[in-house]
Symmetry: D3
Subunit: 137 residues, 6 copies
């Protein structure tokens, strides 16, 4: 069993808030992340897959396939976008890093299995001081 | 003559566009940075000051003063904000990294002189792949 | 189950040595880390907590609470301090990175549980070339 | 149980290819990594060991021993070398990051056990965008 | 006057040697960098351009143009290549970082002028411990 | 004219204070950096030299010579040491980053000239948020 991690990056705007809260209530719970005029981040995404080394190639999975899956299914949908308003797989959800990481998992897990590996971890870094990890369960 | 650099960080949303352009024209000139729903960055700001070492303290300038000036005059105004809509010293200007760096210079230069040093460089990093420097002239 | 990691930093002096050893014996076992005049590091501390996402907020745990716990219980006690001489929760212990990481765990685990998450890992980086991890068992 | 990670670095040339493939077939499967004239990387190697803290020293294992094992058994054999042509423990194997990581494990595991710790993970980073991890099974 | 820096990366193999030296002489002058079987690096290239901000766009120069120039004239020619054997603009030259940086300058300076900016600095990083800068004179 | 930068690192303890101040006065001027029990840092030192490329070697200066000069004249004297108490070239001086950078310049400038290059800049980084540069005048 071997593990490979691929890093991809995207820049996006978002806001943390509940529609049923007033601006004051949102400020109290979500702090400055609730700014109604949005703020944004340079997100760094690490996707780890696992499986057996293919004896034909010495690869677990071709990294160019893994990179293409992440770019097509995630980066092209979120890069230079507003996560709350424009990302189909985040529709109706909170735009927290936790839920974004979990949603990225479900967006790519099947396609990775179709390429002979299994998704192990989605790590999403929002700033140099915090990141979220989701292992699928 | 000695040079000291202080790093501070902020997260913000912005958009590159001209009001007199259509969305298509903005897309052609500014690319995905013109998204009308905004996008954002983790900006990293490096402020370099220069001057003589104070023989009383061994300091060019107290770093806690430099950090306070940057935080009061810049970070508190841009962090978790929309640069196009909410930042007083960017009103009526394009929200490009070039103009933001230049505007940060004018926002802090005098206050640094009042503390016995001279502003040498404002470096503003928008992503790991690009940054802007302004030396005041 | 989701995992969130928060990074905090502190600078401190320390020394590795046994009181019942001579300076020569300490030098043999602990190398230059046993210097009786101390040396120091920029420590980087990563605290990982785990739990369920709160459906009310989209958060596992408010990051500002996690940051406050780490700063109040750890950073304020060790930052710009001498780990051997001044840190209450290290009294009578060796100031190795291993024991410091383990001690940080016991210093914050309960308070994190009181905020609805569980402590998963304390990672303490002493230099760019080495770090220690403790998972509580 | 405590975990310690040591980082070491080396620069090397390599090529991904199968001898029984034509250059065109190698290009199709391995892309530009199959260049017959070689290319190279700054590899970053992280070795994680685990075990109990020694109550005599406060150490899991003396880091200078761990560093010496990695340098003698790995770095001196691969640094500024051609992985396909010159590295004894890679003879007859593909020079993929996966197989290199796995081979590094078998090269150092026993020696680490002889120093009172157990090898937990070999992480080998080929570029800022990808790394491989092997846990021994 | 404003300065913008763009970062691009490439991986390549090279060797430092003189044809008129024996292997022993090359080893004495160039150390392990003279290995006849090659070694390699993850090179990081920073290109800094300078000029006036264009009042129409708020840009010094469109970063996508700068990135395209660097990729077309440099990265496509050196990435996953052997610098001594395969790079047209290095033919007949030593493959030292100094000469590579200088050669990159002459490869891109004119094209940058054609886009309204002036080349200010080529910085080429060969490892985390060393880099070269060339300012064109 | 070409510029080369070499990075070296050291860990040390220090304290900012004036002997003629009380502890309270020192605390007021130097903050927590005045702790009488010391604190410490992982210092990162960048030394930049300049000159002409030697046509015999393609080098400005052999990097192994530059590294050796820095290690013999600086790192061996400050690494795992107390800057205030044990470093000969800092005797009788404040242990501020400014003065340490300036003193490092005078410690290595002549030896670099003896190897055919000229010292251009000493950059000394005390933490990820601040560094000092000295250019010799």
């Amino acid at each position: 069993m071997i593990y490979i991690t691929r890093r991809e990056r995207f820049n996006a705007a978002h806001r943390l808030f509940r529609k049923d809260y007033t601006d004051e209530e949102n400020l109290k719970v979500f702090g400055k992340c609730s700014n109604p005029n949005w703020h944004g981040h340079n997100y760094v995404l690490y996707v780890t897959v696992k499986g057996e080394i293919n004896p034909e190639t010495g690869f677990l999975m071709n990294l160019s396939d893994l990179s293409r899956i992440i770019r097509e299914r995630i980066v092209e949908k979120v890069d230079h976008k507003n996560i709350n308003l424009e990302v189909d797989f985040m529709a109706g959800k909170y735009a927290s890093t936790e839920i974004l990481a979990e949603s990225i998992w479900h967006q790519i897990a099947d396609d990775i299995e179709n390429h002979g590996a299994r998704l192990h971890c989605v790590r999403l870094q929002e700033s140099e001081n915090n990141y979220v990890e989701y292992f699928g369960e």
